[in-house]
C-alpha cells in the first residue's frame, strides 16, 4: 500500500511539474519581452534627452543670441577671407577655410 501511495504521489508531482514547465514554456510573448523591455529602456532615455533639450530652451533668448553672435563672427571672418581671395584670386585662396567655428 505504501509503495502504491508513494508511486501515486510521485506521478502527481511529476504531472504538476510537467504542467508548470509546459505553461512557462508556452507563456505567450515570452520572446517579445526582451524587445519591449528594450523599448521601455530606450523610451525613457529619449524622454530624458528631450527633457534635456527642453531644459536648454527654457531661456530661448540665450541659445539664439549665442547663435547670432556666432553667425556675426562667421560673417566677419568670411568677409575677410573673401577680401584676401580678391587680392590674389586663385582656387586655393577661394576655398581656404577661415577660423570660423562654422567651418569645422
Amino acid at each position: 500500500m505504501d509503495v502504491i501511495l508513494i508511486s501515486f504521489s510521485i506521478c502527481v508531482l511529476g504531472v504538476i511539474v510537467t504542467v508548470l514547465l509546459f505553461s512557462i514554456a508556452m507563456r505567450p510573448g515570452d520572446e517579445e519581452v526582451e524587445p519591449s523591455a528594450t523599448r521601455k529602456l530606450s523610451a525613457p532615455s529619449e524622454g530624458f534627452f528631450l527633457e534635456e533639450v527642453a531644459d536648454q530652451t527654457v531661456g530661448p533668448e540665450a541659445p539664439t543670441n549665442s547663435l547670432l553672435l556666432e553667425l556675426e563672427r562667421h560673417v566677419r571672418m568670411e568677409q575677410e577671407a573673401a577680401k584676401v581671395f580678391l587680392r590674389g584670386p586663385n582656387p586655393e585662396s577661394l576655398h581656404a577655410p577661415s577660423d570660423s567655428p562654422l567651418w569645422h
Binding site: T64, V75, E78
Partner: protein, 156 residues
C-alpha cells in the same frame, strides 16, 4: 575732428570735394539707434565720419525675427547708396553699433550738383560703382565659399 578719406570722393579735386561736402548735414547716432529700416525710402546717402554702422537683414528664428549682421560700415565708407540708385529703397537695416557720426547727403541736392557739374557727377558715380562692384565681388566670394562649406558638410 579730422575727416577720413572718403571712398565716395576718391580722385576728385579738392574744390569739388568741398562742393559735395557743403551739401552734407551731420547726424549723430547713439549706439543702437536705427538710421533706416529695410524697405524705407532712400532719400540720403551717408558718409561715416566716426563710429560704426551695422547693416542687417532679418533672420527667421523661432517664429520671430532677429537681425543678422550682413556688413559693417566704418569711417570713410559710404552707406545707403540706394539713395542715389533707383528705385531708392534701402535694402538693409542700418543700426549704429556704437556711437557714430555721419554726414547725410540728400539725393535732391546731389542731383542738382551733378546737373550743374556733370564731371563731379561722373566722378562720384564712378566711385559709387567701384564701391558697389567691390562689395558684389566680396559677396560672390562669400556665396561660393558657403556653397563649398555646405558641400563639404554634406559629404563629411
Amino acid at each position: 575732428m579730422a575727416l577720413p578719406d572718403w571712398d565716395l570722393l576718391e580722385g576728385i579735386p579738392e574744390e569739388d570735394v568741398n562742393g559735395v561736402l557743403a551739401l552734407a548735414s551731420p547726424t549723430n547716432l547713439s549706439e543702437g539707434t536705427v538710421l533706416f529700416g529695410l524697405g524705407d525710402e532712400a532719400t540720403d546717402l551717408f558718409l561715416v565720419v566716426s563710429g560704426k554702422v551695422s547693416l542687417t537683414l532679418p533672420l527667421r528664428v523661432g517664429g520671430g525675427h532677429q537681425d543678422a549682421l550682413v556688413e559693417e560700415r566704418l569711417p570713410g565708407q559710404i552707406l545707403g547708396w540706394s539713395g542715389l540708385i533707383p528705385p531708392h529703397r534701402y535694402t538693409l537695416q542700418a543700426v549704429a553699433s556704437e556711437d557714430t557720426v555721419l554726414l547725410g547727403l540728400p539725393r535732391t541736392a546731389l542731383i542738382e550738383l551733378f546737373s550743374a557739374r556733370p564731371e563731379v557727377g561722373y566722378a562720384v558715380l564712378t566711385n559709387v560703382a567701384k564701391v558697389i562692384g567691390q562689395r558684389l565681388q566680396v559677396f560672390q566670394t562669400m556665396w561660393i565659399r558657403e556653397m563649398q562649406r555646405v558641400l563639404e558638410s554634406r559629404s563629411a
